[in-house]
C-alpha cells in the first residue's frame, strides 16, 4: 500500500520537477534577455557617451609653459636668460599630510623653516593635482640629500625647469627688474589660465613692463593618467592621438641700454648711494639707468627666503629702492640753465646784463640774507658766466624778477612735476611747487601763502622743488636738443625668437619748449663754460676733454632725512651731507649723450658727481656710440 503511494508520488514529483525546471529555464531566458538588453544599451546605444567619459578619465591637460623671452642689450649681450634648474615640486593630492611633509622637508634643510607657512599657502593656492615648486634652484648637494630621502616623500619630486637667470647679477637690476613668485596681488590682474604651469612673473623694471611680450603663450599637452592622477607612459592603443599645443616663446627684448656704459656708470658710483641716467637725446634711448646699491635678482628667481628679503628691506642703504626713477631730491643748481632760459624767454634779463655778486643777496625791503652757496663772491657776472660759475646771487635776483608763477610754468614745460613717460613703471613725478600747490599742500592758513623768499630759493633749485635723476636726464636731453625731446625708453625693439625678425619701436616725442636759437646759444655757452676756465666742473669732469661737453653742477642741501628712511643716530652726520648732482651732454655741438648723475650725500656736484658723468660719456663717445 505504502509502496504503491510512493511510486505514484515519484511520477507526480518528477512531472512537478520537470514543470518547475521549465519555468526556471524560462525565467533564466528572460533574465538573460534583460541582461543582454542592458549590455546593448551600454555598449551600443550609449557607447559614445561612455567613450567620452572614459576619455576624460584618462586624459589630463598639462600646461607647457612658454620659454620667457630673452633680454639683450643694444650690442646683443644677453642680460636675462633661461637656464635649466632643478627644483623641488609637490603635488598636494599625492601627499598624505601636507604640513607634516613640509616640516620634514625643512628638517633635512631643503626648505627654510621660516618659509613653511608661505610654502603651505603657495601649495594651497594651486589646484590639488598641480605640481607646485616649493623650492627652486637646488644645488648638487641638495639634490643628493633629497635622493636619499626620496622614498619618505610620496608626491614630492625633483624636476628640471627653465629658470630665469641674470648673468650680470646686480648690474642694472632696477632697470631690468626680476622675476619672482606670482603674488596674490598679481593674481588679481593676470589671466590665470595663461599662467598655469608658471609660478613666476616679472616684477619691476623691464621684466614687469614688458611682461606681455616676454611671457609668450603657454602651450598644453594631453597626458595619459591613471586613476591616481599620475602620468603614465604607455604606448599603444590606449590613446591614439594625444594633442599637444606647442607653446609660443615670448619675444626677445632689445634694450636701448649699452651694457658697457651701464657697467662704467655702476662701477663709477661704486659703494656710494646714487643714480646715473644716460639718454641718447636723438631718440630717447636710455643708455644707462643705474641705481646703487643694487641687489642680485637671481635670489628672487631662486626663491628668496624670508630672512634674505627682510635683510634687503631693512638695509639702511635701501638696495631695493630705485633711486633713478623714484628718488626725489632738490635739483640744486642743475636747474639754473632752465631758469636762465626762462629769463631770456620772458625777457626779464638781457644776455649782456651784469650783476655784481658780493656773496650775499637781500630781497628788496627785507632784511633776510641769501648767501652764496659756495665760494664767496663772483664780482661782476653776466648770464653766461653766472651759469658757468653757478652764481647764486645772480639767480636769486633773476628768480625774484621772474616770480614763482613764471618759473613754475616754465619748468613744467620741461616735464618737471610730471612723469617723463619712460617705458618702465614706477617713476615718481617729483614736486614742482607753485602758489596753487602750496595752497593745497598745507593745512594751516599761514603756511598756504607763497613767500617771496621761497621764489628766491626756487631759483637755485632749493626749497620745495624735487626732481628725480630720470627727470633731470630727460631735461638735459631737452637742453641738448634745444627744446625737443623723446620719451625715454629702456627697450627699443623686440625680436621674434623663432625667425629672428626684429621690430624696432619708433621713438615717441616727449615734452618740448620753444626759444630762439640765440637764447639757446647763451645757455649752451654757459654750460660749456662750466667745463673750462673758471667753470665749476673745469677741474673735474672738464679735464682733458677730447670732445666738447656742456654741463652743470648741482649741490642739493639735505633738509631732512629723505624717503622715509629710518632715523639712525650714527649715520646722521654723513647722511646730512649735501647731495651731489651733475648734468651734462656731449659733444656740445651735436649731442649724442645726455647724462644726469646723483650721488647721495656726495658733497659738491663738481667733485662727487661730475667725474662719474665724464666716465659715462667717455664710455659711450670714445667708442663711437650714437655716431
Amino acid at each position: 500500500m505504502a509502496a504503491k503511494v510512493r511510486i505514484k508520488d515519484q511520477w507526480k514529483e518528477q512531472r512537478l520537477f520537470e514543470q518547475r525546471s521549465v519555468i526556471g529555464a524560462g525565467i533564466i531566458a528572460a533574465l538573460s534577455v534583460l541582461l543582454l538588453a542592458r549590455l546593448v544599451t551600454l555598449q551600443v546605444v550609449r557607447h559614445d557617451y561612455y567613450t567620452d567619459l572614459s576619455q576624460g578619465n584618462r586624459v589630463r591637460i598639462e600646461p607647457l609653459p612658454a620659454p620667457r623671452g630673452l633680454i639683450l642689450d643694444r650690442n646683443g649681450t644677453v642680460v636675462a636668460e633661461n637656464r635649466p634648474a632643478y627644483q623641488l615640486e609637490l603635488v598636494r593630492e599625492e601627499v598624505p599630510d601636507l604640513g607634516d611633509t613640509l616640516r620634514r622637508l625643512a628638517a633635512i634643510n631643503l626648505i627654510p623653516a621660516d618659509d613653511l607657512d608661505d610654502a603651505r599657502k603657495l601649495v594651497l593656492s594651486h589646484r590639488s593635482f598641480d605640481s607646485v615648486p616649493v623650492r627652486l634652484r637646488l644645488d648638487d648637494e641638495e639634490i643628493a640629500t633629497f635622493a636619499v630621502h626620496r622614498f619618505e616623500f610620496p608626491g614630492v619630486d625633483i624636476r628640471t625647469r627653465l629658470a630665469r637667470s641674470y648673468p650680470y647679477g646686480a648690474l642694472a637690476v632696477h632697470a631690468l627688474g626680476y622675476v619672482g613668485a606670482i603674488s596674490e596681488q598679481d593674481l588679481g590682474h593676470i589671466d590665470r589660465a595663461a599662467y598655469s604651469g608658471t609660478t613666476l612673473i616679472g616684477k619691476l623694471g623691464v621684466e614687469a613692463a614688458y611682461e606681455k611680450d616676454l611671457h609668450g603663450q603657454n602651450g598644453s599637452r594631453e597626458i595619459l593618467v591613471n586613476a591616481q592622477g599620475r602620468s603614465v607612459q604607455r604606448q599603444g592603443a590606449f590613446v591614439p592621438n594625444l594633442r599637444t599645443v606647442t607653446p609660443v616663446a615670448g619675444d626677445d627684448l632689445l634694450l636701448a641700454m649699452d651694457l658697457d656704459v651701464q657697467k662704467v656708470a655702476e662701477e663709477a658710483l661704486g659703494e656710494r648711494r646714487g643714480a646715473v641716467v644716460a639718454i641718447d637725446p636723438g631718440n630717447g634711448d636710455v643708455l644707462a639707468l643705474a641705481s646703487r646699491p643694487g641687489f642680485d635678482p637671481n635670489t628672487f628667481g631662486r626663491g628668496i627666503t624670508r630672512v634674505e628679503y627682510k635683510a634687503l628691506l631693512d638695509d639702511i642703504d635701501r638696495p631695493l629702492f630705485d633711486r633713478a626713477l623714484r628718488g626725489t631730491y632738490p635739483s640744486g643748481s642743475t636747474i639754473k640753465p632752465a631758469i636762465a632760459l626762462a629769463g631770456l624767454v620772458y625777457d626779464v634779463v638781457a644776455p649782456t646784463d651784469h650783476r655784481f655778486c658780493a656773496g650775499v643777496y637781500r630781497l628788496p625791503g627785507s632784511s633776510r640774507m641769501f648767501r652764496e652757496g659756495r665760494s664767496g663772491r663772483h664780482g661782476s657776472v653776466g648770464l653766461v658766466d653766472a651759469i658757468a660759475r653757478s652764481c647764486d646771487v645772480y639767480f636769486y635776483d633773476l628768480a625774484n624778477r621772474l616770480g614763482v608763477d613764471r618759473i613754475s610754468a616754465f619748468l613744467g614745460l620741461f616735464g618737471f612735476g610730471g612723469i617723463t613717460g619712460i617705458d618702465i613703471g614706477g617713476e615718481k613725478p617729483g614736486l614742482l611747487p607753485s602758489r596753487e600747490w602750496k595752497r593745497k599742500a598745507f593745512s594751516r592758513p599761514q603756511d598756504q601763502v607763497w613767500f617771496p623768499g621761497e621764489t628766491v630759493n626756487f631759483g637755485i633749485g632749493q626749497g620745495y622743488f624735487l626732481v628725480t635723476p630720470l627727470q633731470l636726464a630727460h631735461y638735459t636731453s631737452m637742453l641738448a636738443n634745444h627744446g625737443t625731446s623723446f620719451k625715454p625708453r629702456v627697450v627699443s625693439g623686440v625680436r621674434d625668437p623663432v625667425n629672428g625678425t626684429i621690430r624696432r619701436f619708433t621713438p615717441e616725442r616727449g615734452a618740448s619748449i620753444t626759444a630762439t636759437p640765440e637764447q639757446w646759444q647763451i645757455v649752451m655757452a654757459g654750460m660749456e663754460g662750466a667745463m673750462r676756465g673758471r667753470g665749476t666742473a673745469a677741474a673735474t669732469a672738464g679735464r682733458n676733454m677730447t670732445y666738447d661737453i656742456a654741463g652743470k653742477t648741482g649741490t642739493a642741501q639735505v633738509f631732512s632725512v629723505g624717503q622715509n628712511e629710518k632715523y639712525n643716530e650714527k649715520m646722521v652726520p654723513e647722511r646730512l651731507r649735501d647731495h651731489s648732482w651733475f648734468i651734462a651732454f656731449a659733444p656740445a655741438e651735436a649731442p649724442r649723450i645726455a647724462v644726469a648723475v646723483l650721488v647721495e650725500n656726495g658733497g659738491f656736484g663738481s667733485t662727487g658727481a661730475a667725474p662719474i658723468a665724464r666716465k659715462v660719456m667717455d664710455a659711450w663717445l670714445l667708442k663711437g656710440g650714437g655716431a
Binding site: 508520488d9 515519484q10 507526480k12 514529483e13 518528477q14 512537478l16 520537477f17 520537470e18 518547475r20 525546471s21 526556471g24 529555464a25 533564466i28 533574465l31 538573460s32 534583460l34 541582461l35 543582454l36 542592458r38 549590455l39 546593448v40 551600454l42 555598449q43 551600443v44 550609449r46 557607447h47 557617451y49 561612455y50 567613450t51 567619459l53 572614459s54 576619455q55 578619465n57 584618462r58 595619459l224 593618467v225 591613471n226 586613476a227 591616481q228 603614465v232 604607455r234 599603444g236 592603443a237 590606449f238 590613446v239
Partner: protein, 378 residues
C-alpha cells in the same frame, strides 16, 4: 574508399573512446567542455585584468586545477553516500559558522575565515553546497509538494546558516546560500500561493531587516538606486564599471588595451568587476560569447538534473544548476548596473577565493548525481 571515410571513422572511434573514458570517470563531457572553455576564457581575461601578472594567472589556474580534481573525485562518489552525508556536513558547517562568528565578534571586525595554518578556510563556502544538500535530503523522503509543516522546517534549514553568514557580515554569500536552499524548495513543487506569501514575507523582512544592515551595506543599496549621488565614494564602482562596459562598444578596445581597467579607474578589476574588463576590452561580442557559454553550462546542467530519477538527486542537481545562473546574473547585473553592488564574483572567471573550488565541487556532485543513475527501461 576515400581518405575522408578513413578519417571520419578514425574520428568517430576516437570520440567513442574518449566518451567511454569519461563515462568510466563518471564525468559529463559537454559540461566539462563548457566549464573548460569558460575557465580558459577567464584566465586569458585575468592576464589582462591583473596588469599582465603571470603569477596571478598561475595562482588562479592552480585553484581551477584543485577545483577540477575535487570535481572529478566528487563525480565518482555515489549519490547515496552524498545523501547520507548531507546532514553531517550541514551540522558541521553550522558549527564552523558559529565559531567564525564568535571569533569575529571577539576580534571586533569582519571575520569570514578560519585560519587552519596551511590555508584559510571559509565555512560559508561549504554552506553553498551543504544547504541545498540538506534541504534536498529533508524533502526527498516527504510527500511533495511539501506540507506547511515540512516547509517550515526546510525554511529553518535555509535560514539559520544564511543568517549566520550575513552576520559575519557577508551579505552576498548569505544571500547566495539562501537562494540555493529556496531553489530546492521551489523545485520541490512549492505551491504558487505559498510562493506569493513567502515573497510578501521576504519583502516585509527586507523592509524590517534594513535597519539591521551595516552602514556600508545600506549605502550599497542606496548608491545602486542613485550612483551619481556619491560619484567619488560608494557610487564610484558602479559609475566606473558602466563607463568601462559602455566605452568598450561592440568590439571592445582590444585585449589589454582597456583604459578603464589598465589605468586603474576600475576598482577590483581582477575580482568582482572583471566582467567590466571583458566588456571594455572584448566588447559586446565578448560578453555575449561568455554569457552564451554560461547558458550552455546552465542548460546542460538543468538537462542533467531532469535526467536523474531520485527526488534527492533531482532537487539537488536542479538547485545547483540554477544557482550557477544566479551567480552569473548577480555579478553581471551588479557590474552593468542592473543590481546593487554585492560582493559576488563572476563564476570561474573572477580571481580569488575558495568559491572557484566550491563551484566545481558543485558540478562534481551534479555529475555524480547524473552519471550514477540507474538506466531503467520503460
Amino acid at each position: 574508399m576515400t581518405f575522408g571515410s578513413i578519417d571520419s571513422s578514425y574520428t568517430r572511434r576516437t570520440l567513442t573512446r574518449s566518451a567511454r573514458a569519461l563515462a568510466s570517470l563518471k564525468v559529463d563531457g559537454p559540461l566539462l567542455v563548457g566549464l573548460g572553455l569558460i575557465a580558459i576564457f577567464g584566465l586569458i581575461v585575468l592576464y589582462s585584468a591583473s596588469g599582465r601578472d603571470i603569477a596571478t594567472v598561475l595562482k588562479s589556474a592552480t585553484r581551477l586545477g584543485i577545483g577540477a580534481v575535487v570535481m572529478l573525485l566528487l563525480a565518482r562518489v555515489k549519490p547515496g553516500f552524498l545523501r547520507r552525508a548531507a546532514p553531517v556536513i550541514y551540522m558541521l558547517g553550522i558549527l564552523l559558522l558559529v565559531v567564525v562568528d564568535v571569533v569575529g565578534y571577539i576580534g571586533k571586525g569582519a571575520q569570514r575565515w578560519l585560519d587552519l595554518g596551511l590555508f584559510r578556510f571559509q565555512p560559508s563556502e561549504i554552506m553553498k553546497l551543504a544547504v541545498p544538500m540538506m534541504c534536498a535530503w529533508y524533502l526527498h523522503e516527504r510527500p511533495l509538494p511539501p506540507s506547511p509543516g515540512n516547509l517550515l522546517v526546510a525554511a529553518a534549514i535555509v535560514f539559520v546558516p544564511a543568517a549566520l553568514t550575513v552576520a559575519q557580515p557577508d551579505l552576498g554569500t548569505g544571500m547566495l546560500i539562501a537562494i540555493a536552499g529556496v531553489l530546492v524548495m521551489l523545485l520541490a513543487g512549492l505551491q504558487s500561493r505559498v510562493i506569493l506569501v513567502l515573497a510578501g514575507i521576504t519583502a516585509l523582512g527586507a523592509w524590517f531587516g534594513w535597519s539591521f544592515l551595516h552602514d556600508y551595506q545600506q549605502k550599497r543599496v542606496l548608491t545602486f538606486l542613485d550612483p551619481q549621488s556619491d560619484p567619488l565614494g560608494a557610487g564610484y564602482h558602479i559609475i566606473q564599471s558602466q563607463i568601462a562596459i559602455g566605452s568598450g562598444g561592440v568590439f571592445g578596445k582590444g585585449w589589454m588595451n582597456g583604459s578603464q581597467g589598465q589605468l586603474e579607474f576600475l576598482p577590483e578589476r581582477s575580482t568582482d568587476f572583471i566582467f567590466a574588463v571583458i566588456g571594455e576590452e572584448v566588447g559586446l561580442v565578448g560578453l555575449v560569447l561568455l554569457v552564451l557559454l554560461y547558458l550552455f553550462v546552465v542548460g546542460r546542467a538543468i538537462y542533467l538534473a531532469m535526467q536523474t530519477q531520485e527526488t534527492f538527486a533531482r532537487l539537488l542537481a536542479g538547485s545547483l544548476a540554477m544557482t550557477f545562473f544566479v551567480y552569473v546574473f548577480i555579478n553581471a547585473g551588479m557590474v552593468s548596473g542592473l543590481l546593487p553592488v554585492v560582493g559576488v564574483p563572476l563564476p570561474l572567471v573572477s580571481y580569488g577565493g575558495t568559491s572557484m573550488v566550491t563551484l566545481l565541487a558543485g558540478f562534481g556532485i551534479l555529475m555524480s548525481l547524473y552519471s550514477h543513475r540507474k538506466l531503467i527501461r520503460s
